[in-house]
């Protein structure tokens, strides 16, 4: 299990290769990378990510552990940045390695759903119109319900 919480950028490809090489005798690796998307209308100057030092690390570890308990996985990777990012920069990444492909897909999907709504990060978008906190999407909360008792 690897958790990285950091301000600097990361190299998703290098992390994916190291993760795959280190995951043991597995058949499938699924990765998700989140990228700062520009706005079509009001161009985004920056995306600022605030977090809760201490709680963030605990939340990321708990989320990764839950995935590892729920599916048969070779390894789990969670990377999340904070600070000021510009459009096109990579915000975060998760990866799940498993003997079987369904487990790798579901675990990565689960990690993303939990990161969205249960890890203490708050995004603020900076445009020419000033800063604006990103509002939580009710669909993200609904997405979590998929993982309870099925």
């Amino acid at each position: 299990m690897q958790i990285l919480l950091q301000e600097p950028s990361f190299d998703a490809g290098a992390l994916l290769n190291a993760f795959t090489a280190g995951a043991g005798n597995i058949g499938a690796v699924v990765s998700f990378t989140g990228v700062v998307r520009d706005h079509p209308q009001t161009p985004l100057t920056a995306m600022e990510i605030e977090h809760y030092p201490g709680m963030t690390e605990r939340a990321l570890e708990e989320i990764a552990k839950s995935a590892a308990q729920r599916w048969s996985l070779g390894d789990v990777l969670v990377v999340h940045r904070f600070g000021r990012l510009t459009p096109g920069e990579q915000i975060m990444m998760v990866a799940a390695a498993a003997p079987h492909r369904r487990d790798a897909f579901d675990a990565a999907d689960f990690l993303m759903d939990y990161l969205k709504s249960r890890a203490p990060f708050w995004k603020r978008e900076i445009t020419a119109q000033g800063p604006q906190w990103v509002q939580a999407n009710p669909q993200d909360e609904d997405a979590l319900a998929r993982w309870s008792k099925d």
Partner: protein, 81 residues
């Protein structure tokens, strides 16, 4: 008790953290106490549905007991990922 604020809760209150002496039994009671103390708190805590609370770095309910808690944090719904 250390009380922390994040995102727009921090902005409305104007502080990232403070130490509060309180005998409030729950986060909900503490919110009532703070609301009556200063309009900045009233603004930050206007809508409880838009607020989350963590006790000692674990998400908690507004009615969870504060007894023994060292660190409390108020913040909006999280937007990670």
């Amino acid at each position: 008790m250390n009380v922390l604020y994040f995102a727009w809760v921090r902005e409305r209150i104007g502080l990232p953290r403070e130490t509060i002496e309180t005998s409030a039994p729950t986060p909900r009671a503490l919110i009532e106490e703070l609301r009556s103390k200063d309009p900045r708190y009233a603004a930050a805590f206007a809508d409880l549905a838009a607020l989350r609370v963590a006790l000692d770095q674990e998400l908690a309910d507004f009615d969870a007991p504060l007894k023994g808690v060292k660190e409390l944090a108020f913040f909006p719904p999280m937007t990670g990922g």
